[in-house]
Amino acid sequence: MTRISIDPITRLEGHGKIEIFLDAQGNVENCYFQVPELRGFEVFCIGRPVEEMPFLTSRICGVCPEAHLMAAAKACDAVYKVEVPPAGKKLRELLYMAFYVTDHTTHFYALGGPDFVVGPDAPAAERNILGVIAKVGLETGGQVIDTRKRNHHVIEMIGGRPVHPVAAIPGGMSHPITEEQRQEIIAIARKNVEFGQFTISLFHDIVLKNTGYVDLITSAGYTQKTYYMGLVDGNNHVNFYDGKVRVVGPDGAEHCKYAPNDYREYVAERVEPWSYLKFPYLKKVGWKGFVDGKDSGVYCATPLSRLNAADGLATPLAQAEYERMYETLGGKPVHHTLATHWARIIELLYAAEHMLELAEDPEVASPDIRAIPKATPSEGVGIVEAPRGTLTHHYITDEKGILQKANLIVGTTNNNAPIYISIRKAAEALIQNGQVNDGILNKVEMAFRAYDPCLSCATHTLPGQMPLELVVRDQSGEVIHHASQYVAPELLAQFG
């Protein structure tokens, strides 16, 4: 059997590895997607005051600390049975929208975008943010940097720090914003809306006007029909911060809609001996293996999933683009993994518009932002939509608020099984008769990258990337192909 290994290695995170096994004819026989194991989180948490969890869990992740902060704060609200005052809730949401604008911008321009903007067949050395700048111009690149900067400023204003904010606490927020700050945020949000619109138009010009790209997006190798999950408000509109979790089937029909406290009735986790990361699935459909379709409980929780699971978006510009996407791609739900990039920038525009709505509401600057928790603490679940998927925090405490049990289902974990299926489908479509090259493997990786996976939920990585190593072995185990975007030979040689 020939073995292909795509091996993302960082200097610290351990190995998130994609392995593709070929049969004697050189066609794909199987794939495995493995991620590193982080040990002892529950032991680490037990015995701590539950109010430490927002700060502790936001430390799990160097990529989306704001999502953990919000999910943990909401779980603490539930543990203490406290209702956050409207201004506190709006302030949390305002911070969260600034985070979403930043995160989705970064993904589109620095990570997912290069595949389309620079091109899937471009040399690896050009498929990065510098390649994007070269293609779209320095001014656009400057806008990306400015967008990150001004929204980090908002996060710092509201959350106390530009990265790893701390202001969300049980019962609300720790400090209000001033009227002057609110006015400043309004101006920033307006720029965000303009930038969101610009990004959409860029996507239209570069991707949608290129029939080759559209064919790639809609090709069978990047298509799978699963269930889709996302938080929705009372109107079944997408909501990143609050609401009920709605799941629709591959046919688009509602499968279930549940409140955070009930998540265990709907989601179970499958353990496979070859993976440390569990595989969540829909309990009432059941685990049928790594297959898509209505009879398989595999679900996706991605930007595209959120749009599929909702009936629309609550802001006008994003809603118009939402309708355009479904019209272009043949109606709901869309099953094309690479359309996740389109969905992500629609969400970027939505986050910008909603940020403006929140900032324009004078109540967001009210000092009434926290209700002091008074009830005896017990158990609570907090769910938000992290950019990479539905994020669930579940805590159980004793009567003094000391943590007895903690369970987290993080964004990428939801997508563990779909990522596996996507990689396999892409590999099956692209690798045939043993023909493998860098361009083909990049296209396999594109199936993986569309999810914006955050493998260890602990990454900050000094090189700041999760690069890939490729090993192809023949039936005797000899390496016949070795392509690497990141290996440490120089370093190993230097210190070896």
Binding site: R148, P463, A488
Partner: protein, 168 residues
């Protein structure tokens, strides 16, 4: 190079709740403490000249932390697997594998991010004005606020090295 112009930043990088990944934070804390002790009341304090901070970020976010500085020292854990835990390395940006122009599975790498920032006119240290102090780690997968005893042995040497580099 020392931070003579007030443009020096020391960043203790890592995840402080993942065992040895927190070594950068420990080094930063001790460097800060040592700089406190160097101020004798007249003129600018060491902290006016050297900004010490901690972070758990990478790529663009890390690069953005260097904006406005002329010189930077980044302290982090590293895993080469080829040296004893606690071994201290003094690296330059170019020593890090795959740091230039590589495609990335998340965000981008530090060197590419710095180049991008420079393209927009941001003032960040030149690559040669970034020193990286790395400490060989052995466990970065267990949630724990302390480093392993073996890695802890590298703390003093790393602190000393940083202080030598940022001598004010």
């Amino acid at each position: 190079m020392a931070g003579q112009s007030g443009g020096t930043v020391v960043i203790g990088l890592g995840n402080p709740i993942l065992s040895d990944d927190g070594i950068g934070w420990q080094v930063a804390a001790q460097v800060r403490q040592a700089l406190d002790g160097q101020w004798h009341g007249d003129g600018p304090s060491a902290h006016d000249l050297v900004h010490v901070t901690e972070a758990c970020v990478g790529g663009l976010s890390l690069a953005e932390m260097l904006v406005g500085y002329e010189y930077a020292v980044i302290v982090d854990a590293i895993m080469t697997g080829n040296a004893l835990p606690g071994t201290v390395y003094h690296l330059k940006l170019g020593d890090l594998p795959g740091t230039l122009n590589m495609a990335s599975a998340h965000d981008t790498n530090l060197a590419t991010a710095l180049r991008a920032l420079r393209r927009y006119g941001a003032r960040v240290p030149a690559d040669e004005d970034i020193d990286i102090i790395a400490v060989e780690a052995q466990d970065v997968w267990t949630f724990r606020e302390e480093c392993t005893p073996e890695v802890q042995t590298g703390l003093a040497g790393a602190v000393e090295l940083v202080l030598r580099l940022v001598r004010v």
